[in-house]
């Protein structure tokens, strides 16, 4: 056991931080005792340091020993005794290390302060009625938002750090007694296995948590609102909160979750069912409408109503491109405009949309380069995409594939694509939950929260699509 020498210890720690400019150390002498403080000023609350540490120490009548400092002098909440080996970890976590000459151990006082924003309504999950709070980048705030929603001692939060350099805090959250422990263990094991330099956002973990790592389809739920995560925890899922990310991940995940919306639970269930049906039709339209239009136009025009056929024939006459190239061209144009509008500042984005939609579209039609039905069909499919914004990237890929299939093979290609992708999705199991449940395989109990949603008072059991320990949710 060695006794600490303040000056030597401070210089050693500084060396360990490679003399970074934001590492700060101070020496303080009083009544023959020598104290040293060392911290990273970029992440430490300077005002709190003065009020909770420096002021009490300079005005105290007690002798400056480790015991007195801890019990009588310091006015901070989170004070822990630490060994020399823990100094670096504590400092990068926002603690001030207080070293006392001749003591074996030092004190770490948590004074972490990051710039954080207050919880606000997330842009991707707005509600008409219902809670508007969204997660923020600060993990502590997010944890407190969860605690507020589920005020129970059974809400378990297990913290770990991932990332060799980022040391990102990751918290695994679940409800003891509801969640299947096997799923928790599996998540923990997968996260522990990650040996990465840094976790910048929660999405970095998605690839590690998915059962089929290279799948086009996401197998991890993502939520920006604590009410959504709380409801998922009550279904028996595990949530993963990641520091510096306003997106909380949940597993197991099934595709149908993205068709559900928090609005559905805060309005009349009949209306919710209607909206879900519309959403379902919309997403199918988004995927296949462009391809199907091509198939009908190129191969099966005889099944179109006569008036519609005449309209199409009139408008497509004299076009320089084949229908297939025309749709591909419009599809690409929309996608480019979308990407541009995302990346430009909002005022320019609006201008681009106007230029794209009105001027390019209208002029393209008037110039005889593209046909109005083609523009309408692609536009409808692109708009319908955002009925389920969480799936927009996957659906965009599918749209492109179905355009190629419809254009080259007609309806046979469309049907082949549908069957292929359904088989593909049916192969996916997310932590034991079939990806297309509750429809494939059909799980009768879970149909109560399917396309047709029942009244909350009738939902007596938790979903069977996910393994959980407690089936009954309403007694």
């Amino acid at each position: 056991m060695s006794f600490l020498n303040v000056e030597k210890t401070l210089s050693k720690v500084k060396k360990e931080f490679y003399q970074t400019s934001d590492i700060t150390s101070r020496l303080f002498k009083k009544d023959g005792a020598t104290l040293g403080f060392i911290y990273l000023k970029s992440i430490t609350d300077g005002q709190l340091f003065a009020e909770a540490i420096f002021k009490p120490i300079s005005s105290t009548k007690y002798s400056l020993t480790l015991k007195h400092l801890q019990e009588d002098i310091l006015e901070a909440n989170d004070i822990t005794e630490v060994d020399e080996s823990e100094f670096v970890d504590k400092i990068i976590s926002g603690s001030v290390i207080i070293v006392i000459d001749g003591e074996e151990k030092a004190l770490a006082v948590d004074l972490l302060k990051y710039p954080t924003r207050t919880p606000s309504e997330p842009p991707t999950s707005p509600v008409i009625m219902g809670p508007r709070e969204g997660f923020v980048e600060d993990i502590k705030t997010n944890m407190s938002l969860m605690r507020r929603r589920i005020a129970s001692n059974k809400l378990v939060m297990k913290q770990m750090k991932i990332g060799e350099f980022s040391n990102t805090k990751v918290v695994i959250t679940y409800i003891h007694g509801i969640t299947d422990e096997k799923i928790v263990k599996k998540v923990q094991e997968r996260l522990k296995e990650i040996k990465i330099d840094g976790i910048i956002d929660s999405y970095y973990l998605v690839g590690f948590l998915q059962e089929n790592e290279n799948s086009v389809f996401r197998q991890v739920g993502m939520a920006e609102k604590p009410d959504i995560v709380a409801s998922k925890l009550l279904e028996g899922k595990v949530a993963i909160i990641v520091d510096n990310s306003p997106i909380v991940l949940t597993v197991p995940f099934i595709l149908f979750e993205d068709l559900q919306n928090s609005n559905d639970y805060y309005t009349n269930h009949h209306y919710s069912s209607f909206i879900r049906a519309i959403r379902m039709i919309g997403i199918i339209m988004a995927i296949v409408s462009s391809g199907m239009y091509l198939a009908l136009q190129l191969y099966h025009y005889n099944v179109l109503p006569l008036n519609f056929l005449i309209t199409i024939a009139d408008t497509t006459q004299g076009l320089p491109f084949t229908p297939f190239l025309e749709i591909l061209f419009i599809f690409l144009l929309f996608q480019i405009l979308y990407e541009v509008s995302l990346r430009l500042p909002s005022y320019l984005g609006l201008a681009t949309s106007v230029v794209g939609a009105l001027i390019l579209g209208d002029t393209g039609v008037k110039a005889g380069l593209i046909s109005p039905p083609g523009v309408i069909i692609v536009a409808v499919s692109k708009i319908a995409l955002y009925l389920v914004p969480q799936q927009s990237s996957q659906v965009t890929l599918l749209q492109a594939i179905f355009v190629v299939l419809g254009g080259s093979l007609g309806m046979l290609g469309i049907v082949a694509g549908m069957i292929y992708f359904t088989n593909y999705l049916n192969k996916i199991d997310s932590y034991g939950s079939p990806y297309l449940a509750p429809y494939s395989p059909r799980i009768d109990n879970d149909l109560q929260d399917g396309i047709f949603k029942e009244n909350i008072a009738d939902m007596r059991l938790r979903p069977e699509s996910f393994k959980n320990k407690n089936k009954v949710r309403l007694k």
Partner: protein
């Protein structure tokens, strides 16, 4: 180990798809050619036999709930004979696939694409079928489960429109007994689908009380086929033999439904879905046989072998759809006799023996 079993509901749906798939396009016209409208009674007779085969399956399943067909056969007739049976079943399912493919290709060529597109069709169909077979029974059964009601709705719409167009009762009892039985024999290869259930006997997770569920789906399938036959023969009382796709042709007398357009797109899409599922089931039947004959080779090998044999036989031996129909009526019924009837009889004896021993 990954669970590869299917439940009673999925089994029932598989059976319905097998019943529907190869009996609602071409078969009504073929039966009419041989036995006039009495083809309807041929269907009833052959379905009755099919139900007996189903009964044998239930009996065997109750006696050997978790055993594979390979285990059951090897235990009673030895390794060599069980391999012979598997090889026969492989050939049976290969030709079933060839027949199904020929029929659907002929339909698509004549009524949808109006031109040769053999290679394109193969490029489109084979990868999807291969992927489904490799994915396994559980996966494609789930896919069938998802589309099942859409398919049934499609057929239901066709039946309703057909019923509106029907012109009274078909002219029954015009075939002689020899015509009746000869036609029945000629077309037994279109039946015998339930032999597939024996191949997957260990993969069906079913309680005794759930037999009813399977039976309900089978009754649904049989009812749909019989109603379709009745409507088809009632619409085309004299010219039924000329109409090669019953499901589409019962709609074609009502070409336009106001602004909705021609409804045969519904029949077309339904036929496409059914054909893909039918081909998948038959190809899986071949693959299952292959995996049991060559224990060391996995399913991917079976699919590769299937593709090679399928293409060779299709392009060298079959070539045209008419040739396939010729085989269907000449030597395939004998293969069918063995696979559809002798194997179930053998398995029935095995089940009875087991019951006696118990």
């Amino acid at each position: 180990m990954k669970d590869t079993t299917i439940n009673a509901r999925q089994t029932g749906m598989l059976c319905t798809i097998m019943i529907l798939a190869n009996k609602i396009f071409l078969l009504p016209a073929l039966l009419y050619e041989g036995a006039k409208s009495d083809g309807f009674f041929i269907m009833i007779m052959l379905f009755a036999i099919e139900l007996c085969v189903l009964g044998v399956f239930f009996l065997l399943k109750s006696k050997y709930p978790n055993n594979t067909l390979n285990f059951i056969l090897e235990k009673h007739i030895g390794k060599f004979l069980s391999k012979i049976i598997y090889i026969v079943l492989m050939v049976f399912f290969l030709f079933k696939t060839l027949l199904a493919y020929s029929v659907v290709y002929a339909y698509l060529k004549a009524q949808v694409y109006q031109e040769e597109f053999a290679l394109l069709a193969l490029i489109c169909i084979i990868p999807v079928v291969n992927h489904a077979v490799i994915s396994g029974l559980r996966v494609f059964s789930r896919t069938i489960e998802l589309y099942f009601y859409a398919i049934c709705t499609g057929i239901f719409i066709c039946l309703v429109v057909g019923l509106i167009n029907s012109q009274g009762m078909p002219f029954f009892f015009r075939a002689t007994p020899s015509e009746f039985f000869l036609t029945s024999f000629k077309h037994i290869f279109s039946f015998g689908d339930f032999i597939f259930l024996f191949l997957i006997i260990d993969k069906i997770k079913i309680e005794k009380k759930e037999y009813k569920t399977v039976f309900k789906f089978i009754v649904l399938g049989i009812a749909i086929v019989l109603i379709l036959f009745y409507i088809f023969y009632s619409i085309y009382q004299i010219t039924a033999f000329m109409h090669n796709s019953a499901l589409t042709d019962i709609l074609s007398v009502s070409l336009q439904f106001n602004a909705v357009g021609r409804l045969d797109v519904i029949a077309m899409v339904t036929i496409m879905f059914l054909s893909f599922f039918e081909l998948t089931i038959f190809a899986f039947g071949f693959s299952e046989g292959f995996c049991n004959v060559f224990h060391k080779l996995n399913r991917t090998y079976s699919v590769v072998v299937f593709d090679v044999i399928f293409m060779c036989v299709y392009f060298i031996l079959v070539g045209r759809y008419e040739n396939m129909l010729l085989y269907n009526e000449s030597w395939l019924p004998y293969l069918s006799l063995f696979a559809n009837y002798l194997i179930p009889i053998l398995l029935f004896v095995i089940a009875i023996l087991k019951r006696r021993r118990n």
